[in-house]
Amino acid sequence: MGAVFKRELKSYFVTPVGYVFLALFYCYAGLMFYVTSLSDGKTRLDQLFSSLIIILVAVIPILTMRTMAEERHSRTDQCLLTSPVSIGGIVAGKFLAAFVVYLAAISITLVMSLVTWIYSSPDWSVLLGNITGLALLGAAFISIGIFCSCCTESQPVSAVICFAALLFVTFLSAIGAKLPFEFISKIADKLAFSERYYAFTYGIFDISNVLFFISAVFVFLFLTVRVTERRRFS
């Protein structure tokens, strides 16, 4: 796992993928920080945090499209899958590498909090909750992305599927609300990543939301392992 993690992390910054991802995220977050806080003279960052989910839907596919698809495309998976590392270890290594790059991206919000600190002391516990929520949301998105990447050999296809999947889980509650069946919209509300995440930005630290995202990570990474495993038999 360690070897895969190191190689993946390095490859994000040898190829332009890591830089493109970070640049897009920083630009959008900077713009939103200006729009939601600085221009209005507000020091609250909850609007900034809730606005970040949209950029994640757009940029997480860039981060994860390569992970599994490229290995299959260039046949390097033959090296990985015939090594003494388990598929679980390989997938975990890839996930952690993507997650570290993602953490580097969202750490910009810490800088923004420090900027607002000049004007007034922020509510640190709420801020911490927001950042945890953002990290968990990202982790779940990344695991969806890795799963999409393992379903295809083509990076662009993987990115498009991932984008569609992220859009779906983000707007699930909005879609559910338009349906005539009440129980469906209730289920959609429960499963919508956006609803779970917005709870964090409201300053509510609900352990069920934390568990929801962690389980999502495990479910999609597990599916990735299973799909890769199954391919051996097809």
């Binding site: 360690g2 070897a3 895969v4 190191k6 190689r7 390095k10 490859s11 040898v14 190829t15 260039s74 046949r75 390097t76 998976d77 033959q78 090296c79 990985l80 899958l81 015939t82 090594s83 003494p84 590392v85 388990s86 051996r232 038999f233």
Partner: protein
């Protein structure tokens, strides 16, 4: 020791491998020979555990590849048909990565240095893999398979893309490795298999059509012998005279020009007709310019073997 037992692999309705069994003893170099699409790579992929067979199993030193993959894979070095290289890494970075990936315990720097000098890639260690020529890429792939000093090496067409000098180098290297490692080498190049391997398995349309040493395979098909004669003299007369000789099954004239004719006499394997041919020619006042005998080559046998396999498949 690698034992392959009754392996069948299907891709949809197509059977890539059909009940394939063979074994490789320690310290043996086994040549896996077959035309393109015969199932060589599929077999290699199954032995290394990259894919699993639909039925049958592969045992490496008694451990099942699918049931104890981690243990088996530590003792396997695999060079796939397309070397699994990351183009954006340097050779050094790549080998370090493989070293970590294989959880190798040998002293890192000296071990990798040995491998690099063995495969002749010391000069390119700091270059990006994507900038290397095909021959060097192949060698880096080879080096990758050697990391961790595995007991068994599985090489899928290791000399593809190399120039003639490198091919000879790689063959020498494989022979050298064969002293300490068990090697399974696949190829569709006969001379390569002949030059390197102790034993040959011929596969065609997913089935094993021969499994023996080169000499035994040759002698098995050594039922006929051809005698090539070039004579100066009367073509028709010689032909009828040759046909009368005992043991001659068929006489064919391949070339006839300005009174010089070339004949091919097919005889059974126990009869040597050369003396009789000489006497016949002398008796008819003809001059023998050239005479030689030939046994079937491995190449001819290979074509024969694979033709049969193809016919069986059609039935």
């Amino acid at each position: 020791m690698v034992e392959v037992k009754n392996i069948t692999k299907k891709y949809g309705p197509h059977k890539a491998l059909d009940d394939v069994s063979f074994s490789v003893n320690d310290g043996e170099i086994l040549g896996f020979l077959g035309p393109n699409g015969a199932g060589k790579s599929t077999a290699m992929n199954i032995i290394t555990g990259y894919i699993c067979a639909n039925s049958g199993n592969v045992l490496v030193d008694g451990c099942d590849v699918c049931e104890q993959p981690q243990k088996v894979r530590k003792e396997l070095g695999y060079l796939p048909e397309i070397p699994p290289l990351y183009p954006d890494m340097t050779v050094n970075e790549y080998l370090y990565f493989v070293y970590d990936l294989k959880k190798c315990k040998l002293p890192k720097l000296s071990h990798l240095k040995d491998i690099c000098s063995l495969t002749g890639i010391e000069d390119v260690r700091n270059r990006l893999i994507k900038n290397l020529s095909k021959g060097y890429k192949q060698r880096v792939g080879f080096a990758q398979a050697l990391v961790g000093d595995p007991k068994t090496l599985i090489l899928d067409e290791p000399t593809v893309g190399l120039d003639p000098k490198q091919i000879i180098e790689v063959r020498t290297l494989i022979k050298k490795l064969g002293k300490r490692h068990t090697v399974i080498l696949s190829s569709h190049i006969l001379t390569e298999i002949q030059a390197v391997c102790d034993r040959i398995v011929v596969i065609d349309h997913g089935r094993i059509v021969a499994d023996d040493t080169e000499d035994n395979i040759l002698s098995r098909f050594d039922e006929q012998r051809n005698v090539y004669v070039t004579v100066e003299g009367d073509k028709q007369l010689l032909r009828t005279e040759f046909e009368k000789l005992g043991g001659v099954e068929k006489v064919s004239c391949t070339k006839s020009k300005e009174g010089v004719s070339s004949f091919v006499l097919r005889t059974d394997k126990d009869t040597d007709v050369r003396r009789a041919v000489f006497e016949t020619a002398a008796g008819s006042n003809a001059v023998i310019l050239e005479m030689r005998t030939s046994k079937p080559t491995l190449e001819e046998i290979f074509i024969k073997l694979t033709e049969n396999g193809g016919q069986e498949e059609v039935h």
